[in-house]
C-alpha cells in the first residue's frame, strides 16, 4: 500500500481516496470546477511561455487590466484603524495605474532584462503551483486549487491576513485594505483586506474562452494545454534550440512553464526584484516536509491500535504467568 502512495508520487485524488478506503467520501466532495477548465484528456492545465517570442509590447497586461477591472477592489475610506498600533494598512487604490509590478490592481506585469546581448521580456503573474502553499496553508479556506491546476483566492471570503503571500515562494498575492469580509467581523483587530492575484481568468475559461492575456498576445507567446504535453514540449524546445526551462521543478512543479533562450540564473541576476516583483531563482518544494510528516499522521492511528494490542497481550501473558505461579 505505501509503495503506491509515496509522498512524492503523482496520484489522482480518486486513487488515493480509494487506497485509503474513502471512495465514498470522494463522491460527497465533487469538484465543481472539473467540467469547466479541465481538458478532455484530464489532468492539470498549464501554460507554456516562449520568452524568445515575447517583444514586451504589454498587450497582455493591458488586456488583463481591462478584462478584470470589474473585479478590482473599491475600498471604503478612511481605511479602518488597525490594532495593535503599528499594524499598517496596504493601499494601492491611488496607484491603480501602476503596471510596473504586481498590485491588487495589476495581476500581470512585464519584467525585462538584457542578458548575453539579448533583450528578454518575462510576463509575470501567479505561477499556479501544482501543490500551492498559499492554498494549502490558508487557514480560512479562502484560497484553493482546482483539479484543473488553477489556484484562486475567493475575494468574498478572504480576510487579508496575507499568509498566502508570506508562504508563496514568489510573494505573488497582493493586499488591498478596506475591502472584504473583515470589515463585517473585527475590522480593527483581525484581518486587513483582501488578497488579489491572477486566477487564470477562470470565469472566461468556464465559458470555454481562453485566458485574456493568452488571446491578446500578438506573438502567441503562451500556449495552453495539458501539463504533461506542455512539459514535454518545453523539454523538446530546450533540447532542440538549446534553451532553458523554469517551472518544471520549481516549488514541486508549477502550471506556468517558462522557456528562455538564456539561462534563468542570468535572468535572475539581471531583473529588478522587490515587493510585487518576483524573483526567478530555483525554488525547493515548500510542502515537502509537511507532506512527509503527513504519513506519520495517517499511520499514527495504526500505531496506537498496535500499542493497545501489545498492552492487551502483555496483560494476558502476565495474568497467565501469575496463574501458573499460583499452581505451584
Amino acid at each position: 500500500m505505501f509503495k503506491h502512495i509515496a509522498p512524492n508520487s503523482r496520484i489522482t485524488r480518486r486513487t488515493l481516496l480509494k487506497t485509503l478506503g474513502l471512495g465514498g467520501t470522494a463522491a460527497l466532495l465533487p469538484d465543481r470546477a472539473r467540467a469547466a477548465a479541465l481538458p478532455a484528456s484530464g489532468g492539470e492545465t498549464a501554460t507554456l511561455l516562449d520568452l524568445s517570442k515575447c517583444i514586451g509590447c504589454g498587450a497582455c497586461v493591458q488586456t488583463c487590466r481591462e478584462v478584470n477591472a470589474s473585479r478590482y477592489p473599491d475600498p471604503v475610506k478612511p481605511l479602518p484603524t488597525l490594532l495593535p498600533p503599528g499594524t499598517r494598512n496596504e493601499d494601492f487604490s491611488d496607484k491603480r495605474g501602476d503596471d510596473t509590478r504586481l498590485t491588487p490592481y495589476n495581476w500581470l506585469f512585464i519584467q525585462s532584462a538584457r542578458v548575453d546581448g539579448k533583450e528578454v521580456h518575462i510576463p509575470r503573474r501567479c505561477m499556479h503551483c501544482q501543490n500551492p502553499p498559499c492554498a494549502n496553508l490558508c487557514p480560512w479556506g479562502a484560497a484553493s486549487k482546482r483539479e484543473s491546476g488553477t489556484v484562486s483566492i475567493d475575494a468574498e471570503v478572504c480576510l487579508g491576513g496575507a499568509k498566502c503571500r508570506d508562504v508563496c515562494p514568489w510573494q505573488i498575492p497582493q493586499r488591498q485594505s478596506g475591502v472584504g469580509l473583515y470589515l463585517h467581523i473585527l475590522p480593527t483587530m483581525a484581518g486587513n483586506g483582501v488578497m488579489f492575484k491572477c486566477d487564470r481568468c477562470q470565469d472566461r475559461v468556464a465559458t470555454g474562452q481562453l485566458p485574456a492575456c493568452v488571446e491578446a498576445c500578438p506573438q502567441s507567446v503562451q500556449s495552453v494545454g495539458p501539463r504533461n504535453e506542455l512539459a514535454a514540449a518545453a523539454r523538446r524546445m530546450a533540447r532542440e534550440r538549446g534553451g532553458y526551462i523554469y517551472g518544471l521543478e520549481e516549488n514541486g512543479g508549477t502550471n506556468t512553464i517558462y522557456y528562455s533562450p538564456v539561462p534563468f540564473e542570468k535572468l535572475e541576476a539581471a531583473v529588478a526584484k522587490g515587493p510585487g516583483k518576483p524573483h526567478l531563482a530555483s525554488v525547493a518544494d515548500s510542502m515537502a516536509d509537511s507532506n512527509t510528516l503527513a504519513w506519520a499522521v495517517l499511520l499514527a492511528p495504526l500505531a496506537g491500535a498496535a500499542s493497545a494490542l501489545l498492552k492487551g497481550t502483555k496483560r494476558i501473558l502476565a495474568s497467565r504467568e501469575a496463574k501458573g505461579g499460583s499452581h505451584e
Binding site: 492554498a135 487557514p139 479556506g141 509537511s290 506519520a296 499522521v297
Partner: protein, 141 residues
C-alpha cells in the same frame, strides 16, 4: 508516560500550533519576544501541528481500543471526531494531486476551526467546574 499526559501535551501543542496557522502571533507581537520567533514561522508550526496530530491520533486509537468509545465521554468523542475528520481532509488536501472543490475546502476549514474552539471552550468550562466543585465543600463548611 501516563496516558492522560500524552493527551494534554498533544492538545496543548495542537492549540498553539493551530492558532499559529492564523496570522496573529506576528501581528500581536508574540513573535518578537526573544525565543518566540518560531511562532510566526508558518512552515515550522505547520510541521509541529502535524506531529502533535500524530500524537493525538496515536492516543485516540489506543484509548478507543483499550477503553472503548465510552472511555472518552459522548461530547468529547463527537468533538474530537469532527476535529479529526476535518483535519484528515486538510492533510489529504495538502498532498500533491489531491484537490477538493473550493466550497468543500472552505466548509472543512471552518468546521475544523469551530470544533477546535468548541474543544477549547469545553476544556475551560470543565476546569472552571472542577474548581467550583473543589471549593464547594469548603464553602459549605
Amino acid at each position: 508516560m501516563n496516558s492522560a499526559w500524552i493527551y494534554r501535551i498533544a492538545m496543548a501543542v495542537l492549540a498553539v500550533s493551530g492558532v499559529a496557522q492564523m496570522p496573529v502571533f506576528k501581528r500581536y507581537g508574540i513573535a518578537s519576544i526573544p525565543g518566540f520567533g518560531w511562532t510566526a514561522d508558518y512552515f515550522f508550526t505547520h510541521r509541529l501541528h502535524y506531529a502533535a496530530a500524530a500524537l493525538l491520533l496515536f492516543w485516540l486509537a489506543r484509548r478507543l481500543m483499550t477503553g472503548g468509545p465510552a472511555a472518552l465521554g459522548r461530547a468529547r468523542l463527537w468533538l474530537l471526531g469532527v476535529l479529526v475528520l476535518t483535519g484528515a481532509v486538510r492533510v489529504l488536501k495538502n498532498l500533491p494531486d489531491v484537490d477538493f472543490s473550493p466550497l468543500t475546502v472552505m466548509l472543512v476549514d471552518w468546521t475544523h476551526l469551530a470544533a477546535a474552539m468548541a474543544i477549547g471552550l469545553a476544556a475551560l468550562l470543565m476546569l472552571a467546574r472542577r474548581r467550583a466543585d473543589a471549593r464547594a465543600p469548603i464553602n459549605r463548611r
